[in-house]
């Protein structure tokens, strides 16, 4: 469910700290919010190349976390339909224009024996 809505079509832009890389806005493919400790992965593939989680950070309503921190975050949530910001670093600055962005979300949902989540892929134009 909601797979096609994981990646937001707007909000794809360069980082705001001057480092090479970008930001993409993502939503959780689920019908309720979840504590961040149950967000097992938000994996990003940019133009066919996986971006390691160590090079990404995750921001919900102004609170930024590394993926190493998320498993312990039980006091903050990714709300239903909330646009989270996935910021990532790359070796070289992103080229202007279109990029292929793929995001896979893996969720630990207590009543399900297998992981929940979903996957979305879109061609996004880098906002200037």
């Amino acid at each position: 469910m909601y797979d096609r809505y994981i990646i937001c079509e707007d909000g794809f832009r360069v980082r705001d700290d001057g480092r090479p890389g970008g930001r993409v806005e993502v939503r959780m493919p689920y019908y309720r919010g979840l504590a961040l400790s149950m967000v097992e992965a938000v994996d990003l593939v940019l133009d066919g190349r996986p971006v390691p989680p160590e090079r990404t950070t995750f921001t919900v309503h102004g609170n930024t976390y590394t993926f190493a921190e998320l498993p312990a975050v039980t006091h903050d949530r990714w709300e239903m339909g909330e646009r989270a910001e996935l910021a990532f670093q790359t070796d070289e600055p992103l080229a202007p224009g279109e990029h292929e962005v793929t995001v896979s979300v893996r969720l630990r949902i207590s009543y399900m024996p297998v992981p929940g989540g979903g996957r979305d892929s879109k061609r996004l134009v880098l906002a200037s």
Partner: protein, 333 residues
């Protein structure tokens, strides 16, 4: 469809779960969802706090006031909330029994703040947690009702364990909340159509749907689909055929004293005003016969099966289901 000949006290409600698609995309605000509920003529409203309340489990006074103001403004009564039990909250350990009970107590408090007298316990709530939470629910004046959700049914060992606890403790706070996804007589076509759009082999889709519609043995469907050369899409459909079930609505009758609320699940209300796969006329007749005194609450779940190809119109789907329920309950002709 003939309206019931005997008097009854069954009322209608809408779960905000039904409008999740529009709320997710922010094309409807929470107040829009409340207003849409009122527009159906249903007097009751059900809310999924973890879906609709940012900042959950912290309910601000401001939210509680706004919610209660909407209830007055739109003439609605909160009838139920839905609670989840995140036993896998931590990646490295299961939530302890005491932590699970604390989570349920927290959700009982949330229901009280929202003015709802019933909390749905999602099907994964263990019986011993229900038993341990019951005294607190009694104290707070809230009923904790276990959802009987497909593929579970009234003779299933998991439900029997719960029934044993309910009868042994005799707690007035414990009971059942049937989900009408246990009364799926015919395979929802929105689900098989989606599989076809996702590239499933038509012959395997037909085989799965026919097995389901004949109420055949679905236990080994995934295996058979595998023997016939199916792949992940066909496996997914076969698994779904084991997760809807058809049981006779009358299987609710012996449990009627425990039944406090119904989740009126639906996948597709047709233009003719009927649910494609669930015989609501039979369900309502059984509820009337059993003297059910509670709410039939719309829970639309078709959106996830059509969102890939069609616009979702939850408001219209709920409107149609509510119109059908009003007719079946004898409120309208």
């Amino acid at each position: 469809m003939t309206p019931p000949a005997v008097p009854h006290t069954i009322r209608r409600a809408v779960s905000l779960y039904s409008y999740q698609h529009e709320y997710f995309l922010r094309t409807m605000t929470l107040e829009d969802c409340v207003a849409a509920t009122a527009a159906t003529g249903a007097p009751g409203i059900e809310i999924v706090p973890e879906q609709s309340i940012p900042g959950f489990p912290h309910l601000t006074g401001e939210f509680a006031d706004t919610w209660s103001g909407w209830m007055d403004k739109y003439g609605l009564t909160p009838v139920a909330t839905n609670a989840f039990l995140d036993t896998k909250l931590h990646p490295d350990r299961w939530l302890s029994h005491d932590e699970q009970v604390a989570s349920v107590r927290r959700d009982i408090d949330v229901a009280v703040r929202l003015g709802a007298p019933i909390v749905k316990a999602t099907i994964n709530f263990p019986p011993e947690v229900m038993a341990a939470a019951a005294p607190y629910a009694e104290e707070r004046g809230v009923r904790l009702l276990l959802e009987v959700h497909a593929p579970f049914h009234y003779g299933h060992p998991w439900i029997l364990e719960h029934l044993e606890v309910m009868h042994r403790t005799g707690s007035p706070a414990l009971g059942l909340m049937p989900d009408t996804g246990t009364f799926v007589r015919r395979f929802p076509r929105v689900v098989s159509d989606r599989a076809l759009r996702d590239g499933a082999r038509p012959d395997l889709v037909d085989y799965i749907v026919k097995t389901y519609d004949d109420h055949g043995d679905t236990h080994a469907l995934m295996d058979i689909v595998n023997y016939r050369g199916g792949g992940p899409v066909e496996f997914g459909l076969a698994r779904q055929a084991t997760h809807y079930i058809w049981t006779e609505p009358k299987t609710m009758l012996p449990h009627m004293p425990l039944i406090g609320h119904i989740q009126a699940k639906f996948y597709e209300m047709t233009e003719d005003g009927v649910e494609y796969s669930i015989p609501y006329d039979e369900i309502v007749a059984v509820l009337v016969e059993g003297g059910f005194d509670g709410h039939l609450s719309s829970e639309y779940e078709g959106q996830r099966h059509i969102e890939d190809a069609f616009p979702v119109d939850s408001v219209e789907q709920v409107r149609r289901q509510q119109a059908m329920l009003a007719r079946l309950l004898g409120e309208t002709r």
